[in-house]
């Protein structure tokens, strides 16, 4: 309830006025819970955590402003209309009023979500920043089967739409060389792209039959999907617009039928970029073109476009185009690096490798790719192929001119940004471990062996010199290094201890002399004792000095004494986190040690 409508006796301020529970909100909006949920999903309204939960801790609270925001949403009215419409249809059906029902069914009320997208993402960067979930979901649904159950229904056209959108997105990323990292995990393949400074990570499931669990509410997912589909369509439009390509793309139906959408898209790009050039020319020629001619021109252009698509079937044309594109725009250093990684390389994919992923990934890094099957740009027998990607125990017929590698090699090369030696990735071998590019090994505290190898190779590629492997690893792996506060601190502590020792010895000497002087004959008998004592003392001093770790710890404790309680607790909590991480690293090390020992014994 808004503040100024509050009846007397109701709170006007504080948490009681600022937040309302979900059931209150539902009642206030006069909608059913499912409609409310849908609205929340579409509008991006989420519960809040009030400082004081007036109605109890088990309730979900929404901010009153959020609810007012929902209340003034035109879609709310649209949803009500739809509900009324459904009732009308049902009534007509049950009264066997077939005409009316048919007429109604032909006029189903619909709504569009573009205003919501505009509202939620006022800037394009915002939309890009929130694209992770959107992409993951659309890629997931692109891999799902259509279902038609009693309650839940995933329609075929939505799945096709998801496929289309995901391919469009991938085509853009691949075309503009914005892909940065890839990672094959058990869950699927992770990709990370960088668009307008936003790092966008998404997961694409393995292209296999997916499991549809029963305990999942597909309606919720479909509501999310509805929003995401619209969002990605608009994002794609904007992206395509930015590289002067018409959206939505018109694809070669033959290739589409062969499920080579990505390739079809890339050809569309090529054709389009040429067409745009032509368009420019045309525009320059016919400066004062009349509006009547516009339509004619368009059709001409379309023809030209299609003509261009046809000859680009040859690989040479594609290569040529690639070079063209390179010449044109100037990108940042990283994009350049990505573009040139697989430059002048030709890949051929076997039947058993994940084709879609590789068709996306290899062109993104400047390679040319073909596959076994219809519509492929070049055949397996092409002599210029440099790498053939196979994933089978043995390869029957081999061309000597090319390397046969496992698909992991491509992904590892991309993450390392160098062309790795292919020996480890040969057919039939177990490839080296595939490492996540998203982990900061230094921060984690544990560097896997293969990461070190890759680093070495990278350095070699850059013609740098790294320290010896043994030294380096030892230095980082030193447990004492982690325990104490760093090398500098430790050195300081040692220094201090040494000084102390010296000073103590000097003082001792001095005092002894003083005593002897002062006491003279009176205490002459004592002198013997004193000497004895002195020796004793020196021993004590010896004992106290070497405990360096103790000193370092003391220094750490000393300042802890003065910390206020809040900070101290925070510090301790941080230490606990650190300890946990160290325990994890320790576990890994232990396992590694055991594995090595087992290998050694063999």
């Amino acid at each position: 309830m808004p503040k100024h409508y509050r009846p007397p006796g109701k709170k006007k301020e504080g948490n009681a006025a600022k937040y309302m529970t979900r059931s209150q909100a539902v009642k206030y909006l006069q909608v059913s819970l499912s409609v409310f949920r849908k609205l929340c999903i579409l509008k991006g309204v989420f519960p809040r955590e009030p400082k004081k939960k007036v109605k109890g801790g088990h309730q979900t609270y929404y901010h009153v402003k959020d609810i007012m925001f929902l209340k003034h949403e035109p879609i709310l009215e649209k949803l009500r209309e739809m509900r009324a419409y459904e009732k009308k249809v049902k009534k007509a059906m049950s009264k066997k009023n077939r005409d009316l029902a048919e007429r109604l069914l032909s006029r189903k009320p619909t709504y569009t979500l573009d205003m919501l997208i505009r509202e939620r993402y006022p800037r394009f960067v915002d939309a890009l920043g929130d694209l992770d979930d959107c992409l993951s979901m659309i890629h997931l649904f692109a891999a799902l089967p259509a279902i038609d159950r009693e309650r839940e229904k995933i329609e075929v056209n939505r799945i096709h739409n998801c496929r289309r959108l995901s391919h469009e997105w991938q085509a853009y990323i691949s075309r503009t060389h914005k892909l940065r990292k890839t990672f094959i995990s058990v869950k699927g393949i992770y990709y990370q792209a960088e668009v307008e400074g936003q790092k966008i990570t998404w997961l694409s499931p393995h292209a296999l039959q997916q499991v549809l669990p029963d305990d999942v509410d597909y309606n919720i997912m479909l509501t999310f999907l509805e929003f995401y589909e619209t969002l990605l369509a608009f994002v794609n439009f904007k992206l395509y617009h930015s590289i002067n390509i018409k959206y939505p793309p018109i694809l070669d139906p033959r290739l589409e039928a062969l499920a080579a959408d990505l390739y079809a898209l890339s050809r569309y790009f090529d054709a389009n970029s040429r067409a745009s050039e032509m368009e420019l020319k045309l525009a320059s020629v016919e400066n004062g073109a009349k509006s009547k001619d516009a339509e004619l021109e368009e059709s001409e252009l379309r023809l030209a476009q299609l003509q261009h698509q046809l000859p680009s079937n040859e690989p040479g044309a594609l290569m040529h185009l690639m070079e063209d594109a390179e010449g044109k725009d100037e990108d940042d250093a990283e994009t350049m690096e990505c573009r040139n990684l697989f430059k002048n390389m030709k890949f051929f994919l076997g039947r058993e490798v994940p084709r879609e992923s590789l068709l996306f990934v290899i062109p993104a890094f400047g390679g040319v790719v073909s596959w076994e099957g219809e519509g492929a740009p070049f055949e397996e027998s092409d002599q210029s192929i440099t790498y053939q990607i196979v994933d089978r125990p043995t390869q029957g017929r081999k061309f000597l001119s090319r390397d046969y590698v496992q698909p992991q090699w491509v992904y590892d090369c991309i993450n390392a940004r160098i062309i790795l030696p292919t020996d480890d990735y040969m057919v039939g071998r177990v490839p080296p471990p595939h490492l996540s590019p998203f982990v900061d090994n230094e921060k984690e505290g544990y560097i896997p062996e293969y990461a070190e190898t890759i680093r070495r190779l990278q350095a070699a590629a850059r013609k740098e010199v790294l320290p010896m492997p043994g030294m380096d690893i030892e230095d980082l792996a030193d447990p004492q290094h982690l325990l104490a506060e760093g090398v500098i601190d430790r050195a300081e502590a040692i220094e201090a201890a040494e000084k102390k020792k010296k000073i103590a010895a000097l003082q001792e000497q001095y005092h002894n002399e003083l005593k002897l002087e002062l006491q003279g004959a009176n205490y002459s008998s004592v002198s013997n004792d004193a000497i004895q004592n002195a020796t004793l003392n020196s021993e004590a001093v010896e004992a106290s000095v070497p405990d360096l770790q103790q000193i370092a710890e003391d220094a750490a404790n000393m300042s802890k004494v003065l910390m206020p309680r809040k900070k101290r607790k925070l510090y301790e909590a941080m230490q606990i986190g650190k300890g946990r991480q160290q325990a994890h690293v320790g576990l890994l090390r232990e396992r590694k040690r055991k594995i090595d020992a087992a290998k050694g014994s063999k």
């Binding site: 990570t201 499991v211 999310f224 003065l562 510090y571």
Partner: protein, 744 residues
């Protein structure tokens, strides 16, 4: 006229009825019945007329007959009047049609018979048409006759046989018939029954009337007078008799307008029927080139966690848990169990579909719309930066850092130590029942006293000219002559410690029971025997007074003794709780008593409470007063050190959580800005504690050094610490029977 008479008649009749059978009849049946009556009446009338016409002579008799049969017991006079009234009607009737009488009388009789048989049937069949009277012979039913047009039969009889149609006579026959029979024009072919019907005169008359546009029956009155059948007065509620509004009878204007609008729309092609609306999702350029709109005021959802090495399809071997580890996961609680167990596949083709893909995506969806989002400030800082910046310790020198001398000789834990005012000697009391005097510089043991029981506390007289040591052992306090200093001083000390009569001195009786001053020759000193175990003894700065503390002494727990007069006094303050420690103010006549929770400050001259300091710790173990007198440190048994600035507040200025075990003793240095704590965790902390003369500046506290070296015995660590009176040195006494001197 006829109407009037019928009216009258009716009213009469109703009256009659009322009088006749009012007892059985319910009131409301009256209006129902009356129309019936009316009908009957009318029919009766018609019959009578017909009968009159039939035989005008018997009219009266017949009329009577009928009236009698219809309404029994009606009076003769009434019937007569009726007939006479009816007679008036007659001329109208007769004038209208002369042929009526000459029509077939049989039918009229048959009618009469019917009437006689049942009134009910007549009520139902109101029309007098011949069809109704004669039962249809045809069994075609309610089907169009066209169906039988080309058939030879029409319908079926009861036995299921076809009923043949009659031969239709041709035109010639009909012409001949018309020539032959003058009455032929009356014959009409009834197609339904397939027969020729001869119309009666009545019927022809009816037809004629209808052709003229009149009602078929001559006796139908199109304009009857309205009769108020309902007497409104009897009803409880008003009877609605408002006429129907006009709008009910005329077509709606607005509907008409709507129809016109729709028609126009359809004609103009604006409204298209039978055409599906286009369902085309429009995609357009939503974000312009420079969308400089404001930033979202919206908490973005946290991004999902990025996968680590362990999620790889082919991770390093060390990321894969061993069999035992996987088994141990099963013993864990559901929540603690790792969500993801790494697996290794030797080639990409062997990787199956991830079975939780949809599930995880769904969970993410739930998180997105169900989880409250709060913008939390994650402190992404180096934990070391949380630590306060300490000034360089080198700048705060000198302070004790290193163990310089150990004083060994005691056999039990050293409980208490005390230095002499010049700092040359140190006295120590141990649990083995000995008190030793050590030379500070050399560590030589000068002298040893053997006391029977464990020493609780030793305290050197602060006056440099009086080398007296106070020692508490169980219930006794000994004042020992150390035997230092020149002869003059010795003499004075001996004088002081000389008690003439060993019995009760000149004290009053009441104190004799508490404390007994006596001479102890064996040790060469004075012995004060208390009534309870004495824990500590504290000297006044001038060296004449000293206080003793008996924690179990209740109201007489704290006593003040005067050495020169050998007097004993009770502290005149009420104790709030068990006293733990006491102290004299270093310059003024103020006395501090610490209980387990609080420290109370008393003015001895005014004999009243000055201040109560709330420590907030669990149990105070010791207190020490800064030489300036305005700051106090309190050590507690939960390892906390409280610094009180008495000018500031009764709450601690700073609480330092330094030890993880009990603090046994706290001590201030007399001249250097140093203080120290000793604890049962075998450490002693040395702090820099600078107090500024400027009242606006808070005390400045820096921890300087942790002194270690003592070892633990029976769970105790360092039991006492004392600063050297002149040098920045610290003496610590440990439960490992060693005294250590830490020098700078």
């Amino acid at each position: 006229m006829a109407k009037d008479t019928s009216n009258q008649k009716n009213s009469k009749k109703s009256k009659k009825l009322q009088s006749k059978g009012a007892k059985e009849q319910v009131k409301y049946t009256k209006p129902e019945e009356s129309p019936n009556r009316l009908q009957e009446e009318e029919e009766e009338k018609a019959e009578s007329t017909s009968s009159e016409e039939l035989s005008p002579f018997d009219s009266e008799v017949e009329g009577e007959d009928f009236s009698d049969s219809d309404d029994d017991k009606s009076s003769l006079s009434g019937s007569e009047s009726e007939s006479s009234e009816l007679a008036e009607d007659e001329d109208v009737f007769v004038s209208s049609d002369e042929d009526y009488v000459s029509g077939d009388g049989t039918s009229g009789h048959v009618q009469n018979d019917d009437h006689g048989e049942s009134d009910d049937s007549r009520q139902v069949e109101e029309s007098d048409s011949s069809e109704d009277e004669v039962a249809p012979r045809n069994t075609v039913g309610d089907v169009p006759l066209e169906w039988y047009k080309d058939e030879e039969h029409i319908g079926y009889d009861i036995s299921g046989k076809k009923i043949k149609k009659k031969e239709r006579e041709d035109k010639l026959d009909s012409f001949l018939a018309s020539v032959d029979d003058p009455e032929n024009w009356r014959k009409v072919y009834d197609e339904y029954n397939d027969e020729i019907v001869e119309l009666t005169k009545e019927e022809t008359k009816m037809i004629r009337r209808m052709l003229k546009g009149k009602a078929p029956h001559a006796d139908f009155d199109p304009y009857p007078t309205a009769v108020d059948w309902v007497t409104v007065d009897d009803f409880e509620h008003p009877f609605p008799d408002a006429p129907e509004p006009k709008r009910r009878f005329i077509p709606s204007k607005w509907e008409h307008k709507l129809v016109v609008r729709l028609v126009r729309g359809i004609r103009a092609g604006l409204i298209k029927l039978d055409e599906k609306p286009k369902e085309e999702k429009q995609v357009y350029l939503m974000w312009g080139e420079d969308s400089n709109s404001t930033e979202r005021h919206h908490v973005p959802a946290p991004k999902p966690k990025l996968p680590g090495h362990e999620e790889s399809y082919n991770p390093s071997l060390e990321y894969i848990p061993t069999e035992e580890e996987i088994k141990s996961y099963e013993l864990m609680y559901e929540e603690d169990r790792p969500k993801f167990i790494p697996k290794r596949f030797t080639s990409l083709r062997s990787v199956p579909a991830y079975e939780k893909a949809v599930r995880e995506n769904f969970d993410r969806c739930l998180d997105l719309y169900l989880c409250p989002r709060v913008r939390k400030k994650r402190i992404n800082i180096d934990p070391e930066s949380l630590k306060p910046k300490l000034p360089n310790r080198k700048d705060l020198r000198p302070y004790p850092t290193t163990c310089y001398i150990e004083y060994r000789g005691h056999n039990g834990s050293v409980v208490s130590i005390s230095t002499n005012p010049t700092g040359e000697w140190i006295a120590s009391g141990s649990a083995d029942g000995t008190v030793r005097i050590w030379e500070v510089e050399t560590g030589r043991c000068l002298r040893t006293w053997e006391l029977e029981e464990a020493v609780q506390h030793v305290a050197w007289n602060p006056a440099p000219e009086l080398p007296i040591l106070a020692v508490t052992v169980a219930q006794d306090v000994f004042l020992l002559n150390i035997g230092l200093g020149n002869e003059e001083e010795q003499k004075r000390v001996e004088e002081l410690l000389h008690i003439d009569f060993p019995g009760a001195p000149d004290d009053s009786d009441s104190f004799a029971t508490i404390v007994k001053w006596s001479k102890n020759d064996k040790l060469g000193g004075v012995r004060l025997t208390h009534f309870k175990t004495v824990s500590t003894v504290e000297w006044h700065r001038k060296g004449d007074y000293f206080s003793t503390l008996m924690p179990a002494g209740e109201s007489r727990a704290i006593l003040v003794h005067q050495l020169s007069k050998r007097q004993t006094q009770r502290m005149p303050f009420k104790l709030h709780g068990l006293p733990v420690s006491t102290a004299f103010h270093p310059t003024r006549s103020i006395f501090f008593i610490s209980t387990k929770k609080n420290v109370r400050v008393y003015d001895l001259l005014k004999q009243r409470l000055v201040k109560k300091l709330e420590t907030g710790v669990r149990e105070v173990s010791s207190i020490a007063i800064h030489p300036g007198g305005d700051n106090i440190i309190v050590g507690s048994k939960d390892g906390k050190l409280c610094w009180f600035d008495m000018d500031l507040s009764s709450q601690p200025y700073r609480v330092l959580n330094c030890h993880h075990k009990d603090i046994t003793k706290v001590a201030f240095h007399r001249s250097y800005p140093l203080f120290a704590t000793s604890s049962d965790d075998c450490t002693a902390y040395v702090f820099h504690g600078m107090v500024y003369s400027d009242l606006n500046q808070d005390p400045f506290i820096v921890p300087l050094e942790i002194l270690r070296g003592h070892s633990t015995t029976n769970g105790r660590g360092v039991l006492d610490c004392k600063f050297h009176p002149k040098q920045p040195w610290l003496f610590t006494a440990g439960s490992d029977s060693v005294i250590k001197l830490y020098c700078h």
